[in-house]
């Protein structure tokens, strides 16, 4: 407890930092007011409610889940810990394709979000001028309507024989997607394409906002410097803009990929049983079949796989200070 020292001027320089005014290192604020002992506990008191809440309702459940995942039994007789690791192998055996599908759909949706979201974020950050705030409002505006209602709207948009399907069909795009195995016949609904389209739609704002905030922070004089140093627009983008926006790309892809891989709403509302993702399986086992051990095992596998992927990705991307 004696390690506690209040710190009031660490981290980034105060926002009003010196234009031309020089900052004394000896101005470093290291407060040492009276009542040191009492003060030493202050951060712990402040953290107590939130920390306790998260410990009891976030961490402890994970342990409960771990223990449930190795239980056996039935609803009637009750479940007991029997170190039944076959729950894991069974889950993977039965729902292996669900896992593959989840990560596949999530990856494609994340890539699409990046592809669609980057130009929009770039447009808002660099080209929008005085329209910037309005455009930002429009990006978050969809949130004002419940996402379930909006997802249902895609049923209307992509409905069989509707305008979107007709256009895609007459342009022979459906032939291509059908050949790729993304659609079947003259339908978009109840196909992988519809599920990926829904996932992309639902998580697009989570990609755009971090991209925007990192693009907006780029000093335009850097881009001018690149141009001054004979970089073509494409080169400027590749060598300056994109690398500088990388923190936004990393944050955006994580914010898209993680929830997308655990989602079951899009698959349920826009897909058919052939597009079921691991989220659907967990939900069904937990809420309908009431086979809690299998649900827990699957949920644990999902969590572990995501944590592994995220940590590898973050190491590769080299940005670990995201949040």
């Amino acid at each position: 407890m004696t390690a506690v020292a209040p710190l009031s001027s660490s981290g980034p320089a105060p926002s009003g930092a010196a234009p031309g005014g020089e900052q004394d290192p000896d101005a470093a604020v290291t407060d040492s007011g009276g009542g040191r002992a009492r003060r030493g506990l202050t951060p712990y008191w402040l953290l107590l409610p939130a920390g306790l809440w998260l410990a009891v309702f976030f961490v402890a459940p994970l342990f409960y889940q771990a223990s449930t995942s190795v239980q056996s039994g039935s609803l009637e007789e009750g479940f007991r810990v029997t170190w039944q690791f076959s729950n894991y192998t069974d889950a993977l055996g039965t729902y292996g394709t669900h896992f593959v599908r989840s990560f596949g759909y999530a990856a494609v949706a994340t890539a699409l979000c990046l592809l669609i979201g980057y130009p929009l974020a770039y447009m808002i950050a660099v080209r929008a001028g005085r329209w910037r705030n309005l455009l930002l409002v429009l990006v978050i505006a969809p949130f004002f309507t419940s996402f379930l209602i909006r997802t249902l709207a895609w049923k209307t948009i992509l409905s069989d024989g509707g305008p979107v399907v007709s256009v895609l069909s007459s342009l022979h795009i459906l032939d291509v997607t059908s050949w790729l195995g993304l659609t079947g016949g003259e339908r978009v609904l109840a196909t992988p394409l519809a599920v990926v389209c829904g996932l992309t739609y639902n998580f697009l704002p989570f990609m755009i906002l971090p991209l925007y905030s990192s693009l907006e922070r780029i000093d335009t004089s850097l881009l001018e410097a690149a141009r001054d140093l004979y970089a073509k627009p494409a080169t400027t983008f590749r060598k300056v803009t994109f690398p500088l926006s990388l923190p936004g790309v990393v944050a955006g892809t994580l914010l898209t990929f993680i929830p997308a891989s655990g989602d079951y709403i899009n698959a349920q509302l826009l897909g058919s049983p052939n597009e079921q993702m691991v989220g659907n399986a967990i939900q069904k086992q937990f809420l309908n079949v009431l086979d809690y051990p299998t649900a827990a095992a699957m949920s644990f596998i999902l969590m572990a796989l995501i944590l592994i992927m995220v940590s590898v990705y973050m190491r590769k991307a080299g940005t670990e200070e995201l949040v």
């Binding site: 105060p14 009003g16 010196a18 234009p19 005014g21 020089e22 004394d24 000896d26 101005a27 290291t30």
Partner: protein, 382 residues
């Protein structure tokens, strides 16, 4: 109110920001703490404000010991570096903040007076971010002064302003100080600012006060190389003292190391204790005190060198035009690059790089420092 710091010191972990320090700031004076980044001047100021608790020593305000008093109980106010104006309050509320905290109910009259004093009458309802740097500075000043503190502390108050505005604000601060008549303690790294405004200046270096005195005294008679270099520019020449008394009791004669020249200076202007024959000293002279004569007419009349002047020979290596003056760099056998400022009045056209010259100045303008110090201390500090 007089401030008396006795034995005040501050350490942060292993780092000593301020070594035990004794300082008295007389009532009603404009006192400057001058020094480079990290010299401990701001820490000293913050200890007076109560924002930093001294590791040892005590602070007296008049007769009262305020060492352990928290900042909000001290009759002392601060103008912060970058002003620290409350962004969520307008100008009026910023200025009224201190009065309101002390339970003053009707503040409008006093605020109006303050706005008048700092000439911001029509800005009363603006938010700080809608003001220019100079205006923000005035608000910060008014916010502190309205409380009629016994002492006003100013932490680099003009640091964020551009040069022209800074000049203007220097005069204005001085005017306000004369008007309100309270003690100002001003922290700055700008020697010109300190010299223009302050009655007395304490030059700090490495957590210690190097020298204390009125600006002219510090400039004319520096007692250390740091002060000599930090306040303006000095030419420092290595020399050895010749046996004292040979030039009369009030004068010292020194032999320049590496050159066949002797220089004279008043014994009172020697900052070394107990000089005797052979004592090594650094002889100093300010660039504007030195005159240049071309070697060809060094001994002629009227351009020649007066008999009683100190003289050194050298060769001009660089001459640059500064508008009001010319700056010459002269290489001398004394082994140093000497800087000379010549008034831009009637320039000898032969004084170009390569010309051999005689530098000469009055012995009374010469000072001597302890040679054990770093001769370059304070040169790069600004």
């Amino acid at each position: 109110m007089t401030i008396t710091l006795s034995g005040i010191a501050k350490t942060f972990g292993d780092f000593t920001a301020v070594h035990p320090l004794d300082l008295t700031v007389p009532e009603g004076s404009f006192f400057a703490l001058l020094g480079a980044s990290g010299c401990g001047k701001t820490t000293t100021l913050r200890m007076i404000a109560g924002l930093e608790e001294p590791t040892s020593g005590s602070i007296l305000l008049g007769e009262d010991d305020i060492t352990r008093l928290p900042p909000h109980k001290r009759p002392v106010n601060t103008v912060f570096q970058n002003y620290a104006l409350f962004p969520h309050l307008d100008v009026t509320e910023n200025i009224a903040f201190g009065l309101r905290r002390r339970g003053v109910k009707s503040v409008s009259k006093q605020v109006a007076e303050m706005l008048d004093l700092v000439q911001l009458g029509d800005m009363a309802r603006r938010k700080p971010r809608q003001l220019s740097g100079g205006q923000q500075q005035r608000v910060a000043l008014a916010r502190a002064l309205i409380n009629r503190p016994q002492v006003l502390l100013l932490d680099e108050p003009l640091g964020a302003l551009d040069l022209k505005l800074r000049r203007q604000m220097q005069l204005e601060l001085k005017r306000i100080q004369t008007e309100v008549g309270i003690t100002f303690v001003h922290v700055t790294h700008d020697q010109e600012e300190a010299m223009t405004m302050a009655d007395s200046v304490a030059v700090m270096y490495g957590g210690r006060v190097e020298q204390l005195g009125p600006p002219a005294e510090l400039y004319e008679n520096p007692r250390s190389t740091f002060v000599a270099n930090f306040l303006g520019t000095s030419n420092l020449i290595e020399a050895e003292v010749l046996s004292p008394g040979t030039a009369g009791p009030e004068q010292l004669r020194v032999q320049v190391v590496g050159a066949d020249a002797t220089l004279r200076l008043p014994a009172a202007r020697c900052a070394v204790d107990g000089v005797g024959a052979g004592t090594k000293v650094l002889v100093g002279v300010r660039p504007e005190k030195i005159s240049l004569a071309h070697t060809d007419d060094a001994d002629s009349v009227p351009r020649g060198v007066p008999e009683d002047h100190n003289r050194l020979t050298g060769r001009i290596t660089d001459a640059s035009y500064l508008g009001v003056s010319w700056q010459y760099v002269v290489e001398s056998p004394a082994g140093t690059q000497l800087t000379v400022y010549e008034q831009n009045v009637s320039r000898d056209s032969r004084l170009t790089p390569g010309a051999h010259v005689v530098l000469h100045w009055q012995p009374a303008h010469t000072f001597a420092l302890d040679a054990a110090q770093d001769a370059a201390a304070g040169e790069e500090a600004v």
